[in-house]
């Protein structure tokens, strides 16, 4: 019962954040620029959390997450702009297609380990990007115009659902199986866990929410171009996860929020932003390779009795 109390208090906190955001926007206290920042923040949280389940929880080093973002962005845009479908339907279709792509990419590549997997996922993301570049139907290199349909409400609740789903998944026998794979794949296998199944599942789950993020993203930026989904985008997402702590959900969220703020304020100085990003990345890896929070959650820091491990709802 205590656990469900915690859940409800988090949910109330989330709704308060939503209400504050909505008030700031509808009362015109913040301008377009900051409203966009809030939406981008939600998109980045979704991307960070969806990659977290692949890298942080399951330990599969994928650095091609932008590929799934691209699929979600393009497919949902095709559904709203070319086929005249409702926004929600478009987002879902985009996410499902991204999931299918995740399965197609994941099934062959997840047999690979470490750096090889990293390079293979990066290669797949590039293939996805080059494919969109070559499809005239979606405008090729010039890109595709998209009406703005995303707003704070869509972005916020999409991010909230992403967090709840990934968190619930992680805190269950399924998430534990994924963590076991991260910790020691051979031992996990020897304990009766179908490692391929869980690696692919985590990958597909990550791809699904990256696809949702893509739908929100494309309907927020007026025009989408393949160049927006290159590996620099993948690295951006990777930085959220690594910086927050490989294995920490709250860490991923916090770093997504902080880095969105940093990029917004350095929006006019993109080189400076990237120099800071890369320096932070190098310094964190050299001096705190587990990221800021390691595998801990922010809530663990306030618990004195618990010495670590993962909470499981019972």
């Amino acid at each position: 019962m205590k656990k469900s109390k915690i859940f409800w208090s988090y949910l109330i906190l989330a709704l308060v954040i939503y209400a504050v955001g909505q008030a700031l926007i509808s009362l015109n206290i913040i301008d377009m620029y900051y409203k966009n920042m809030l939406i981008t923040m939600c998109i980045n949280i979704m991307l960070a959390v969806s990659l977290h389940v692949v890298i942080g929880v399951t330990g599969q080093f994928s650095i091609g997450h932008a590929g799934f973002l691209a699929i979600g962005a393009y497919v949902s845009a095709i559904f709203t702009m070319k086929l005249g479908m409702p926004f929600i339907v478009a987002i879902l279709v985009g996410a499902i297609v991204a999931t299918l792509a995740g399965l197609i990419v994941g099934i062959p590549t997840l047999r690979l380990k470490g750096d090889y997997l990293a390079i293979a996922t990066l290669g797949f993301a590039e293939i996805i990007r080059i494919t969109f570049l070559n499809i005239d139907y979606v405008g090729g290199a010039a890109g595709m115009q998209v009406t703005q349909l995303s707003n704070w409400t869509y972005a916020f609740f999409a991010a909230l659902i992403t967090i709840i789903v990934i968190s619930n998944f992680t805190k269950s026998r399924h998430g534990r199986a994924c963590i076991a794979i991260r910790e020691d794949e051979i031992a996990a296998d020897a304990m009766g866990i179908n490692t391929t199944y869980y690696k692919v599942t985590a990958f597909a789950l990550g791809a699904f929410f990256a696809g949702v993020a893509g739908g929100i993203f494309s309907h927020n930026v007026f025009i989408i171009q393949p160049s927006a989904f290159g590996f620099l985008k993948s690295f951006d997402i990777l930085i959220f996860v690594v910086l927050g702590g490989l294995g920490s959900l709250s860490g991923a969220i916090i770093s997504a929020v902080l880095l969105t703020l940093v990029s917004t304020y350095l929006g006019n100085f993109p080189e400076t932003r990237m120099i800071i990003y890369s320096l932070v990345l190098i310094l964190v890896m050299l001096y705190r390779p587990t990221g800021l929070l390691g595998t801990k959650e922010i809530t663990d820091l306030f618990k004195s009795k618990k010495k670590g491990g993962i909470d499981h709802d019972q």
Partner: protein, 312 residues
């Protein structure tokens, strides 16, 4: 096979018929010279991976720095091609060693993932530092030859291609000599085989690793200059794609294996040139990644590699 791939297959067949034999030979030579650039970069990748098991993402940026040094040497300081090439190689060697000493040395005992992320960070840092100081605009390389082509037995060949090929072959022979015949080469082979045993045998592992970075970076620097000559321009992001492709070449040949990198690079260059020649130039970049994924799935140890398994 999807519908689009099916269509692709047939259009490839049509396209093949349309191209004449002479043109194919020309394309083959273009492919080999492009491939030799990949091979030069791939050598550095493969040597570094062989010795410290790190995919040095920043390697492509050393290549970019080499391209810029070559540009400044030739255009601003009026140096000839060969002196500019040597200068780029020397400075890149120093640069490579600095990267290794400052960033990678501390990572010897950390996880592969931490090392990989650091390498990505170093790569971004180099790129954006260059952009910060001189902007992202490209620089045009001077033309080395007034008369661009030469006709041999009815086949038109660009002089730049011949130059690139010649330089690459000389450098690769030199590398083979260093690795096989010199003391430092033997040390490099020993360390890549078993660093701890090498240390016990009195080999200075740190210096050997630095030497590996120096040699690899010098080759990348040379590749940067000849890339500039070939494509007549250099820019701060030019290292990313060739760097990734060179890595593909290294994997294709069998990572850690020096002749593998050479063959892998050449093969990749030829495949890419043929894909372009068939009229799919926009798909050219995808070819490398498709090869990568196929090789990773079906023969992850590469063409020349041996199968290894994890000890349980």
């Amino acid at each position: 096979m999807g519908a689009s791939e099916f269509a692709l297959f047939f259009s490839v067949k049509e396209a093949v018929k349309g191209v004449k034999v002479m043109e194919w030979i020309q394309q083959l030579i273009n492919g080999v010279s492009l491939g030799s650039i990949y091979a030069l970069i791939a050598l550095g990748y493969t040597m570094v991976y062989g010795i410290i098991k790190l995919i040095n993402f920043a390697h492509g940026d050393v290549f970019m720095i080499g391209g810029f040094i070559g540009f400044y040497a030739m255009v601003r300081w009026d140096m000839g091609f060969i002196p500019a090439l040597l200068l780029a190689m020397i400075l890149c060697a120093v640069f490579g060693v600095i990267i290794e000493r400052v960033a990678y040395k501390r990572l010897r005992n950390s996880t592969r993932i931490a090392a990989l992320i650091t390498a990505i960070g170093v790569s971004l840092l180099i790129e954006y530092t260059v952009v910060f100081f001189r902007g992202a605009q490209p620089e045009g390389y001077p033309d080395l030859f007034v008369e661009k082509n030469i006709t041999i037995l009815g086949v038109q060949i660009s002089k730049t291609s011949i130059l690139i090929l010649a330089v690459s072959i000389v450098l690769m022979l030199l590398l083979q000599f260093i690795v096989q015949k010199t003391k430092i080469g033997k040390a490099m082979r020993a360390v890549s085989h078993d660093a701890d045993a090498a240390r016990l045998m009195g080999i200075n592992v740190d210096n050997t690793i630095s030497a590996t970075f120096a040699i690899g970076s010098a080759l990348a620097g040379a590749a940067g200059v000849i890339f500039g000559v070939y494509y007549t321009k250099v820019d701060p992001f030019m290292g990313i794609i060739p760097g990734l492709k060179a890595f593909v070449a290294a994997v294709l040949g069998g990572i850690g294996i020096i002749p593998g990198a050479m063959v892998g690079g050449m093969l990749l260059g030829v495949v890419e040139t043929f894909v372009s020649a068939l009229g799919f130039s926009l798909w050219r970049d995808a070819a490398a990644f498709i090869i990568l994924i196929l090789i990773l799935i079906f023969r992850p140890e590469g063409i020349f590699g041996k199968n290894t398994r994890e000890k349980v």
